[in-house]
């Protein structure tokens, strides 16, 4: 065993393969701890940042330098109000604003912005209004008259209930001429674009911008408003380890869960392939005669029928008919890929069994009167172990490539991330207009290449080390 290990460790390619496989295995196992989003294709887990956000670390490159991250802060009023009698701090998160009759009090919250404009701008606060009909609260960012709150339902004013706490949310994504005086003041053809243009106008470049709440009392008595400190939040263009896709979902989560699924599927499929290949190969090689002839013809048939078209045809046909029996797509793909990929493995095992069967030690065992079963399981199968391990590793890349190909074509899994459908969606969105989302296109492809090469080298090392008869021809 020790010699085996030493032999393995002396191979650079083996160390490379163990490192790569280990890395992806850790990613796959630790997926739930690495990311909070277990299925980023679900609508609820999208828009964690702006669509096509670059990875956070990419902001070291000059072309991404000023891109904003996701921002979520609570704004505080400028200190000047502390002394005035009209605005006072009720507690740490609430302001009390007293407005004399016929007067207006402005409370300004400075917002320090260090980046280029964000994807959207959201402001939220709770407003407790006086119990009268004669007031209005206006929201400004810089000079843009974004929102007007009043007890009377006259668009573009937004209705609030007098004398009660009202949660107020302003979002640039939701603005329309009916809820924003600024948008209503625009020419008609610009109104529908306002939600896209507003973030660029409100926060055009790094600087300090004022968010102003203006309290207007049109009544005849002094009124009191309570307002919580406004929370500011916006989705940014720099997010996480690997940015976001076209739906603003985390690419890192997709990558990690894709690795999890791909590894799981390919290992299970390889095990099934080995199982089928071992049974057919052993039967054909050891029993021989008519069994061999039939099984060999059967194997040749599956070997010579074009694989990918057959895969496409079978998936489609099962899809049409399977809607009735309601089969899980992932299981279906797993089964079909395994049932189509065993011939190569079976042929190799058959060939090896044939040569083993004619070796002297097997003949000796036969001469000693050992039963066929005993010879098979005591002498032949143990000597096949090297090949079995190697085939297990060799089959993994094939399965990953086949499954990814199906997903890429949109014929496979679409409900949750796999490397294949990540590539499919990513490359469908590669265009001259939105540029090349490298943080989205590259990881799954590189993942497939690296894990395939790693498993290939792993298999080669296993074959070299475990095969007792030195199949490598030394």
């Amino acid at each position: 065993m020790n010699k085996l290990l030493r032999d393995l460790m002396s191979r650079k390619t083996f160390i490379f393969s163990v490192v790569v496989i280990g890395f992806f295995a850790v990613l796959a196992v630790a997926a739930p701890f690495l990311t909070p989003y277990n299925n980023p294709y679900r609508v609820g887990q999208q828009f964690v940042a702006a669509p096509y956000a670059v990875p956070a670390w990419a902001t070291v490159f000059p072309q991404y330098k000023n891109l904003p991250p996701d921002v979520r802060i609570t704004l505080t009023p400028s200190l000047a109000y502390e002394s005035s009698g009209e605005v006072s701090q009720l507690n740490s998160s609430t302001l009390k604003v007293t407005v004399p009759p016929g007067d207006t009090v402005n409370v300004t919250f400075p917002l320090r912005w260090n980046w280029s404009s964000p994807y959207d701008v959201r402001l939220s606060f709770t407003l407790v209004t006086p119990n009268t009909q004669y007031f209005q609260v206006n929201l400004f960012v810089r000079d843009f008259y974004l929102m007007s709150l009043s007890p009377l339902p006259i668009p573009p004013e937004v209705t609030v209930v007098p004398g009660k706490p009202n949660p107020v949310i302003f979002s640039t994504e939701l603005v329309n001429p009916g809820n924003s005086p600024y948008v209503a003041s625009l020419p008609v053809q610009d109104q529908s674009l306002a939600s896209l243009e507003l973030p660029k106008m409100l926060l055009p470049k790094p600087g300090t911008y004022n968010v102003t709440l203006s309290f207007v009392n049109t009544g005849k008595t002094t009124e009191m408003f309570l307002v919580t400190l406004p929370g500011y939040s916006s989705l940014g263009y720099a997010y996480g380890r690997l940015g976001t896709d076209d739906n603003g979902a985390s690419v890192f989560s997709e990558f990690v869960y894709g690795a999890r699924f791909d590894l799981y599927l390919s290992l299970v499929a390889s095990a099934i392939i080995i199982g089928i290949g071992l049974i057919i190969g052993l039967l054909a090689g050891y029993v021989g005669g008519f069994t061999d002839l039939t099984l060999n013809a059967f194997t040749d048939f599956f070997l010579l029928i074009p694989g990918l078209p057959l895969l496409i045809v079978l998936i489609s046909i099962f899809d049409i008919t399977g809607t009735i029996v309601n089969v899980n797509k992932a299981v279906l793909i797993l089964l079909i890929i395994s049932l189509l990929s065993w011939p190569g493995t079976a042929k190799i095992i058959r060939g090896q069994t044939l040569t083993l069967r004619n070796r002297t030690f097997v003949e000796a065992a036969r001469a000693l009167g050992e039963s066929r079963m005993r010879i098979l399981f005591k002498h032949i199968v143990p000597n096949l172990m090297g090949i079995l391990f190697a085939q297990l590793a060799y089959d993994v890349p094939g399965v990953i490539l086949a499954e990814s190909g199906l997903d890429f074509l949109g014929l496979g899994i679409t409900e949750f991330p796999t490397w294949g459908n990540m590539l499919g969606y990513a490359t469908n969105n590669v265009s001259f207009v939105n540029g090349f989302a490298w943080w989205w296109v590259l990881p799954p492809g590189l993942g497939i290449v690296f894990i395939s090469v790693a498993f290939y080298y792993f298999g080669t090392a296993m074959l070299d080390v475990l095969s007792p008869y030195k199949l490598r021809g030394e």
């Binding site: 010579l304 029928i305 496409i312 008919t321 490359t427 265009s431 090349f436 290449v449 395939s452």
Partner: protein, 334 residues
């Protein structure tokens, strides 16, 4: 005598394979739906089809293709229609399947045959370099690259290559329709047509070449290296023949045999292998037809396309068997 026996055996084997493919087609497209209790005629009309009333179409198809007959009678009808290439009508294209396939076969051939030739040359040239520098850094780099290219997903790298050379650097046209028509939409003629078509096809052809040479390269290299240590090469060395001459004349002649076999197999599966490339580069070939058929759940198209692809594979494999004795005379004596 040995030659005739070899040829007879091969021909019988390939005919048996063809029959097996026919039966397999029948099983997938006729028996499977029947097991699930679906009238195959229902499958012949895609769900998205909007045209004639569905039930009338289904009845007409039933009558035309005998789909309401018992399975055993249907078997002979189906086999006969496949053998005579009566593959039915594609409802999503509203054309006979055989017409669609006949249109697309040359396109795929134009794509694959040049790349097959190029990649074989590439594999042999790199292989010769590897053999002559066995174990040195150049050999390792070439072998690693060959293995790497084998595992690169075609659909991934293809899209990246298309983006950079087509859209970003604008070296190659990216749209077949734009490439072969004039600005006002008329089809180009004569030399300009072919020149522009080949300009469009250059990128996919080069791409297929690069991702497919790996297997043949490794095959050629391993064979060559094994031969370089064999007895007959030692004998040639002892006779004082130069290493160059041994490599280029004797070893290459022998090492190229498995490469030729492999080229034959690749040729047989050529229509199967370029599904992704046709999908990415938007080339209307057989592979793309298959994907469209699958997307539209167009069963006659799927069945016909799959059958033609398998049929082509069988024919090429048979042709390979027939010319194999010329390449490797040793098979006569086996």
């Amino acid at each position: 005598m040995g030659l005739i026996r070899y040829l007879m055996r091969r021909i019988v084997e390939r005919l048996a394979l063809l029959f097996a493919i026919l039966v397999f087609n029948f099983f997938i497209f006729q028996v499977l739906p029947t097991i699930y209790g679906i009238n195959p005629a229902q499958l012949y009309v895609p769900l998205t089809y909007k045209g004639l009333p569905r039930s009338e179409l289904v009845q007409a198809l039933d009558r035309q293709f005998g789909l309401n007959l018992p399975l055993d009678e249907r078997f002979f009808i189906y086999i006969k229609s496949l053998l005579t290439l009566h593959l039915g009508i594609s409802m999503s294209y509203e054309q006979p399947v055989i017409t669609l396939i006949a249109q697309r076969l040359p396109v795929t051939a134009l794509l694959v045959i040049p790349s097959l030739i190029l990649s074989s040359i590439l594999a042999i040239v790199f292989g010769l370099y590897s053999i002559s520098r066995q174990g040195k850094i150049g050999d390792s780099v070439i072998s690693f690259t060959a293995i790497m290219t084998y595992f690169i997903p075609a659909f991934w790298l293809g899209e990246i290559v298309l983006y950079f050379f087509g859209f970003y650097l604008r070296i190659f046209p990216t749209n077949l329709g734009e490439a072969i028509t004039t600005y006002n939409g008329h089809l180009l003629t004569g030399f300009a047509y072919w020149a522009n078509l080949m300009k469009f096809l250059t990128l996919p052809i080069l791409f297929i070449t690069i991702i497919s040479y790996g297997v043949r390269n490794i095959l050629f290299r391993n064979n060559g290296i094994e031969l370089m240590g064999s007895n007959f090469v030692n004998y040639l060395r002892a006779r004082g023949i130069s290493e160059r001459k041994i490599l280029y004349k004797h070893v290459t002649r022998n090492a190229v045999i498995p490469v030729v076999t492999r080229v034959g197999i690749d040729l047989a599966f050529l229509f199967a292998g370029v599904v992704f490339i046709e999908d990415i580069f938007n080339i209307p070939g057989l592979g793309r037809l298959l994907v469209r058929g699958a997307e539209n759940l167009d069963v006659p198209l799927l069945g016909g396309d799959f059958y033609v692809i398998s049929l082509f594979a069988v024919i090429i494999l048979l042709a390979l068997d027939l010319i194999y004795p010329l390449i490797d005379p040793r098979v006569k004596y086996e």
